[in-house]
């Protein structure tokens, strides 16, 4: 049997829509 692995840390992610908003505001900031 495999040794029990330690719990992995959940990496929080924005939703696809939130990511869209972030990239739009990034584009607006850059000239």
């Amino acid at each position: 049997p495999r040794p029990p692995s330690r719990p992995r840390i959940l990496l929080k992610a924005p939703t696809l829509a939130e990511m869209e908003e972030m990239s739009i505001s990034e584009e607006e900031e850059s000239p």
């Binding site: 692995s5 959940l10 992610a13 924005p14 696809l16």
Partner: protein, 397 residues
């Protein structure tokens, strides 16, 4: 030298390391600038595997910032490529295949028991050690759905103008050429002259286009289940556009068009069989036009004929059956029109059916898309990255 190489291969753990400063270069080379043809001779979905091997290394060194940054840049770059190529079926297909493969990799190597049942021992050793990327799996799943919908839109735009001509007007049965109802000109004569041309709207042209879509998706390593869903959605459009036209045009409601339509649908079914797509439920979407073709061909005189029609036409609504019978045009003076009493007979036979009131089919109806989990048998440690990709800044670990 050979001994050294062999040893390196053996020690390779299926990870790829890069310095943080090279992330933009990696994304540009592997996503923004890549052409599907440049990786056609390699493992299908190579970009997805390379990206996952980079994620694995960032996970291995416990660098959460690097994992998040790479995944975010990857998702944004894919979206940008698709925006820039929003009418390019090949690009849509390539990125749908790669995005869904990356999603499968995140599941297959997540360390969650449910996704590990088909893994080899080595694949289980390669599972992520530190991070749970379940939330990124959700984003990749949403992105895959977005790409799928865009791909359907592009494919529909290409085949929509071909459907009426290919299914109802062009004459794929040579012996039927010229057999049209009285008073109607042979509309397809000009189309037949360029039957072998790339833009001809014959049945062969339509099937060629479907084959091209299917071949592209297969070449890109798209999961057969997803390709099957694309074909099913396109077959729905073929069915709906054909039936709607039949319901609005008297000149095609004839015995000979019925014969032609039956032949054409059988050719489409044959194409599904030849391409192992018969399980995709695409064939079932053709049922209304198959029944309409039969309705045009069967006898429409006695009450037994009416009963036969009622038990035959289960995929057509009462309104559609009645409309086709009303529009039915005899081929010549020896064939009779469908009588009013015959149509009344049909209506009374079918009055208990609770059919929707609308006559025309919804051409825009979309089947819900599913991306079933498809683990890969491929071993990451054996992955070869061609030098031509220009990724020599990635270090195999």
């Amino acid at each position: 030298r050979q001994v050294t190489l062999q040893r390196k291969e053996k020690d390779f753990e299926g990870m790829l390391e890069y310095v943080k400063e090279d992330e933009a270069r990696l994304i540009k080379t592997l996503i923004t600038d890549i052409r599907p043809g440049s990786v056609s001779a390699t493992v299908p979905c190579l970009p997805a595997y390379i990206l996952f091997m980079c994620i694995r290394h960032a996970d291995y060194v416990n660098d959460d910032q690097k994992v998040v940054s790479l995944l975010t840049s990857t998702i944004n770059a894919i979206k940008k490529v698709l925006k820039r190529n929003n009418d390019d079926f090949e690009m849509m297909s390539f990125w749908l295949a790669n995005t869904s493969r990356l999603l499968h990799c995140l599941k297959q190597y997540s360390g969650e028991e449910a996704f590990m049942t088909q893994n080899t021992a080595k694949q289980n050793e390669h599972c992520l050690k530190n991070f749970d990327l379940a939330e990124y799996r959700q984003i990749l799943s949403d992105l895959s759905i977005q790409i799928y919908q865009q791909l359907i839109k592009v494919a529909e735009g290409i085949i929509q103008p071909m459907i009426v001509s290919a299914m109802l007007e062009s004459e794929s049965i040579p012996s039927l050429a010229g057999v049209k109802p009285m008073g109607y000109r042979n509309r397809s004569s000009s189309m037949d002259t360029d039957a072998d041309g790339p833009t001809s709207y014959t049945l062969q042209g339509l099937i060629r286009q479907l084959a091209q879509f299917n071949g592209t998706m297969r070449d890109h390593g798209m999961d057969p289940e997803i390709a099957g869903q694309v074909v099913r959605q396109l077959f729905h459009l073929i069915n709906a556009v054909t039936l709607n036209n039949l319901l609005l045009r008297k000149d095609v409601c004839s015995w000979s068009t019925g014969m032609q339509l039956r032949y054409n649908t059988s050719q489409l079914e044959e194409w599904l069989r030849a391409n192992n797509l018969f399980q995709s439920k695409a064939a079932a979407t053709l049922e209304p036009i198959i029944q309409a073709a039969q309705l045009l061909q069967v006898k429409k005189k006695t009450s037994q004929d009416a009963e036969a029609i009622c038990s035959l036409c289960t995929a057509l609504t009462v309104q559609q059956i009645v409309k086709i019978l009303n529009l039915y045009t005899p081929l010549n003076e020896f064939e009779e029109r469908v009588t009013v009493s015959f149509i009344r007979n049909i209506q009374s036979n079918l009055q208990e059916r609770n059919d929707p009131p609308q006559l025309l089919m919804d051409t825009k109806h979309t089947f819900p898309v599913l991306f079933p989990y498809t683990p890969s048998a491929l071993s990451l440690e054996g992955m070869h990255i061609p030098a031509s990709l220009g990724l020599d800044f990635l270090i195999r670990v």
